[in-house]
Symmetry: C2
Subunit: 506 residues, 2 copies
């Protein structure tokens, strides 16, 4: 943070970013039409049939509002007598009773309006209201029944919705998804339950990879005496993974599910402030962290990182694929989050706050750390789309892609990812070359296995090679664009190296 | 135009518009949440299942780029030996020969990129380049074969594409369309040919009405000696209609097609400037107008209007439905176009130039003249979407709706109208109430018969009643919104009347 705030450093980075942005404008001015020509000569490929990965979607909001409404209505009609819930007094409640008696709300007459999950207009800077949008018809009970994996019906409804979404992906032919699903850290059984839900419902699919999202809710469980220390929280999250890798035989379901998990995420409202900071070692280690207050963002970040890293060493020693750390970062809140994750993360979600720090933005550019940006989500929650820095980041050459975040809350059409691309293309007048480059970035940022990436991009099998090759026949991105990006980055890095060696700045 | 430019009048209108805009903000501030509540209590209706009419679509660009590409490729594979064209030397060319020999371009390898009909980024302020986008693969020959009604295959391909689009409309359940199709005025046979094309191909459908668009190309035909005077141009356009109405027996196809036509349009690049003006009677009457130069916008406008009006009297005398005049106006070019059409038109397309004249904008508001705005089209051609005045017009209470203009050139998804609404909803954070009001406006502005409108809106059968009733069960627009709109307009009109009577301004 000392470097991030250093005035000379800020000026330097600001100038370099300005240069990179205008250099791209020049590139398009002089080479834009030849790029487009090259692109139109590529046979069999266009924006519609190149591979796109939606790298940032919360699984419980992955369906369209219309789809969820139809599903709920169909269930109400087709299986009214299914017991969906047990009251505290032990009485069993059927789906029909739930609507007719408990909620006094006929699912028959329901509309997208009464479902009330869409978040445009009503949630700006209100993460609390946004979280309530997960409740269909404003009812937490219905969230539990329809959008949770661990409930009285063992998550059957959510599994059926998921299967339907997988069918849509298969029909779309060129779309893949990475769904974020929660491990809370409340107890050690969560992994087993989640794994069983995925496996028993046969949700393993070549189109789908999973990202484990850990909500930063230590303080909630601590206050309720569910856990006794931050270490217990961490243990609940990570120990089952270590165990499963150590003894696959005894932990078949977790071991098997882990094959489909590609990354970890840390999630919550970043504008929430902790009582503590991590400055000067003020905070104890996790085993001694027993405060009822939530630790700060960087504390969560560091201890997730160090556990993930250890787990990865463990995996690598067994020649298994490692997991990336791709947390929510820079959506809102302090820019120090972005400094933290620059040091720890493989890629981040959002990152739009990088617009507030030239130093961090320049560093993210130099290291090509992936940003999964969701402008429609930002537009509903924290940043008007007219002010979204996506286009500027893209021009500079930051490794950005587009993702939907929560189709249930933000999108109108049955093709949410295409809708996200479309709105951005219109607002920022993105060319087909731009769109294909953004889609290519989504594959690179994703956790799909190297064999897939190779097939989609002619990406080298050896993941340590960062200097990705491009095959226009696969990506529809003209080589002119990729060469521009690579040369620009190489020049920028060698410039920095010269400066570091006290040579003259050219 | 004297009034439009009067400084005091400008100030007055500017103030009233400012007031109306801010009054709407207040309305939403205090009644927005109760509107939303009212709307969510309306059973069976939401934004997805209310009626929407796409009131401004050029028929030859009504399909999605992906759809056109697939159609061309299928034809190339399924009927390679169909003769599609006769060369000047009389030799017949098949579809396969056309691609393989004439164009040296395999339809097999074609992509959306090589089709090159999308207009984002490349056509800004270039109406000429935009017009070339109608040529698939940049080939005018292919436009003739695939997108024209009058060619060697008698427009069979375009008819097949049209039937496919009608099927899509039927599947969408709640969408109607008004397709614009050209009568050029080159000869008197155009009407008969066009009518035969529609009827023989069985394109009459309850989802579709037709708008006759007349391109302002007198000068082109005159220079080629196709016509000898402006009167001949007008006669070619209007006489067949008069004849058909007078003698339906002898003109069955035109008479029958006219039942499906609802309006007239006048189209071309409005930034094109005529050598002449209509000021002070400088220009002769149409029979004496024999110049090779194109007459000005207002000359076309007046003579179309006066012919339409006479035709309407003729229709009304026979108890037949009259046709509206809904020209392109205020897309670009001089604001005098908007003054002209304020006097002559029933509704206009675009009208975004009203942002440049407070007086005209206020007049269009007071008279509730319909504007079919196409922000995505404007964004590609003349006005960045961030500067589009749609939201401001909507807040003021101008009778605006959203339309697609040219899905072939502007849209990415298979639901172009929904995409248009979606982009606008995101950018301007339109609520579900706003969206439903805009959709309701589209029905009101459309030329669908009163019986349809009554069914969709509970609109009174008597079209002379302008004070439309609202039925929330049909429109999903809460009464609170409609009452606000009506009261605000009534107050504004009575205020003007007081002022006109020299009473004190309150």
């Amino acid at each position: 943070m000392l470097i991030v705030q250093d005035p000379a450093c800020k000026s330097f980075c600001y100038q370099r970013l300005k240069y990179l942005e205008q250099k791209f404008d020049f590139h398009i001015m002089f080479n834009g039409s030849s790029e487009l020509e090259e692109s139109s000569r590529i046979i069999h490929r266009d924006f519609y049939n190149i591979r796109k990965v939606d790298t940032h979607v919360h699984h419980s909001a992955c369906m369209q509002q219309k789809t969820l409404l139809r599903f709920i209505r169909n269930k109400y009609n087709d299986e009214p007598d299914t017991v969906v819930y047990i009251k505290e007094n032990g009485s069993k409640i059927t789906l029909k009773e739930m609507f007719d008696n408990e909620l006094k709300n006929s699912a028959e007459d329901a509309t997208v309006d009464s479902l009330a999950v869409h978040a445009i207009g009503s949630c700006f800077h209100r993460f609390d209201l946004f979280n309530e949008k997960y409740n269909p018809f404003g009812q937490q009970l219905l969230r539990n029944i329809f959008l949770k994996t661990d409930n009285y019906i063992e998550g059957r409804y959510l599994a059926e919705i998921t299967k339907n979404e997988i069918r849509n992906l298969e029909n779309s032919k060129y779309q893949q998804v990475e769904w974020r699903i929660s491990i809370y850290g409340r107890n050690k059984n969560e992994w087993k339950k989640l794994s069983n839900w995925v496996l028993n419902n046969k949700l393993s699919n070549a189109r789908v990879r999973w990202v484990i999202q850990v909500p930063r809710l230590y303080h909630v469980y601590k206050k309720r005496n569910i856990i006794s220390s931050f270490q217990e929280f961490l243990t609940n999250i990570f120990e089952p993974c270590f165990e499963a890798i150590k003894n696959p035989e005894q932990n078949q379901e977790i071991f098997s599910f882990l094959q489909q998990v590609v990354a970890w995420d840390s999630v919550d409202d970043e504008s929430g402030i902790s009582k503590y900071t991590t400055k000067g070692g003020e905070l104890p280690s996790p085993d001694k962290y027993v405060s009822d207050n939530n630790p700060p963002y960087s504390y969560y970040a560091y201890y997730m990182y160090i556990n993930i890293r250890t787990l990865n060493d463990f995996l690598a020693a067994r020649k298994m694929r490692t997991l990336a750390f791709r947390p929510h970062c820079g959506e809102i809140g302090n820019i120090s989050h972005l400094a933290t994750m620059f040091l720890l993360a493989d890629g981040i979600n959002h990152g739009v706050n990088l617009r507030k720090s030239p130093v961090l933005l320049y560093l993210y550019y130099l290291k090509q750390i992936g940003l999964a940006v969701s402008p429609l989500s930002n537009n509903a929650l924290f940043l008007h789309i007219g002010k979204n820095p996506f286009k500027r980041f893209f021009k500079i050459g930051v490794n950005v892609t587009l993702s939907t975040d929560d189709p249930l809350m933000f999108h109108f059409t049955d093709e949410p990812l295409l809708e996200e691309y479309s709105v951005c293309a219109h607002i920022w007048r993105l060319s087909t070359v731009d769109l294909c480059e953004i889609a290519r970035n989504s594959v690179i940022q994703s956790g799909f296995e190297p064999s897939f990436k190779k097939h989609w991009l002619s990406f080298p099998e050896r993941p340590e090679i960062k200097n990705y090759e491009n095959n226009p026949l696969k990506t529809n991105v003209p080589n002119a664009r990729i060469i521009y990006r690579r040369k620009t980055l190489e020049e920028e890095i060698s410039n920095i190296q010269r400066l570091a060696n006290h040579e003259q700045y050219t």
